[in-house]
Symmetry: C2
Subunit: 239 residues, 2 copies
């Protein structure tokens, strides 16, 4: 609603239009109003411009959407400085992938079917590969494990975001009846009792943080024990 902070004047110190600013604005707009609400016309208006002007910065809406994914993925954090065990590196990478996606729930569905690989993404991945090899993990193995964990974290975050959007996920202090009603709104009314109960157990009463860590623990434990099966997965601390 509020268009300009300064009243009455001309352009309120509009900070110059650039490709980066257009992409940022698109990301913010989609996060705020939902992806379907994003149109070139409205994004133009948001930037104080007429909509077709945007074609000076992005070749098409398709390219705009790619750029939004690019900006989102470029928010990936580098691993913390200092040495870390390779299982901790795996965990750190997975957590930071999940965090970035969950920060942009409305935009995250674009990740599927839009294979954008920003430089920053590769830089971060490379830093994790190095962290793992520095701890003695062979490089090929590191890439393999990071790929598996990336895919898991991305899949998990996408499911999580879409469950959250449909209010499938539990709220802090919620009685069972309310939980029941939430989840039964998601499945057809004709569903038998035991399947409704299963749906509730699948997502209706699931602690997403804990279950994310559980799946991650499985993969880490599997990769610690797997090359020959002799290492107890609880050897290392985790978290």
């Amino acid at each position: 609603m509020v268009k300009a902070a300064t009243a009455g004047g001309r352009s309120p110190a509009r900070p110059r239009l650039t490709r980066e600013r257009v992409l940022r604005a698109a990301l913010d707009y989609a996060d705020a109003h939902g992806l379907p609400a994003l149109s070139m016309h409205k994004l133009g208006a948001e930037l104080g411009v007429k909509g077709m002007s945007l074609y000076g910065y992005v070749a098409s809406k398709e390219v705009l959407l790619d750029g939004m994914v690019e900006v989102m993925l470029a928010e990936l954090d580098f691993p913390p400085a200092g040495r870390m065990s390779w299982p901790d590196a795996l965990r750190g990478y997975a957590r930071s992938v999940r965090a970035v996606i969950c920060r942009h729930p409305a935009v995250s569905p674009l990740l599927a079917g839009r294979p954008v690989v920003p430089v920053r993404f590769l830089e971060v991945l490379d830093a994790y590969v190095q962290a793992m090899t520095a701890d003695g993990c062979p490089e090929d193995r590191a890439v393999q494990l990071l790929r598996a964990v990336l895919v898991y974290a991305q899949g998990y975050a996408l499911a999580e975001v879409s469950w959250a959007a449909s209010q499938a996920l539990p709220e802090p202090d919620e009685d069972p009846l309310r939980r029941f009603r939430r989840v039964s709104a998601l499945v057809p009314g004709s569903v038998p009792d035991h399947l409704l109960a299963l749906a509730i157990r699948l997502c209706g009463e699931c602690d997403m943080d804990a279950e994310f860590e559980l799946g991650l623990d499985l993969m880490v434990a599997g990769s610690e024990s797997c090359s020959c099966g002799h290492v107890c997965p609880h050897r290392r601390a985790g978290t």
Copy 2:
């Protein structure tokens, strides 16, 4: 192009319009022409009808898209009859989730951000829960593991499909130079050599079948060893 098998006559035995037929046609159309090409007008034409007629069967395009996901997920296979070990059940479930998604590459991106839970989906999940408990796995643990594996398989298939669409994945017999050119088309030209090499290792020379099984093996090995860490993950056969 070909509209009617019978030439000249009136409506060529059009088999009655129903919600199911509309959804099927939408799925087929999107798989054939891509999701962006799907419009109510064109889908109507495909069905020998005028486009707005579809609103008698689906309330809106949004509902149509939900229905397409529903139809896709309803293709999930039940586990084979007979007993199986619970690790094999986990593997079977993951593989069949991946298979369904890979069968509909153009439609699969809809899975993200569209939390549809068809009855059939719950029935299949329930069947796997039962297969696992029949092999001695506690029921809560079964749900937990199946959820982790579901999310992994879905995330993997979505990544796979989008990499395939952008021709990031390797072809059968391909010389390294060609692989190099394929992948470098995906990343900005400014990317340094070692990051391009990393991108190639990430998806450009990755055997998706093998890497899927690898991630799955990690989770299975982790879940076999994890409750107390004493079981060798190679105790069971796999495949």
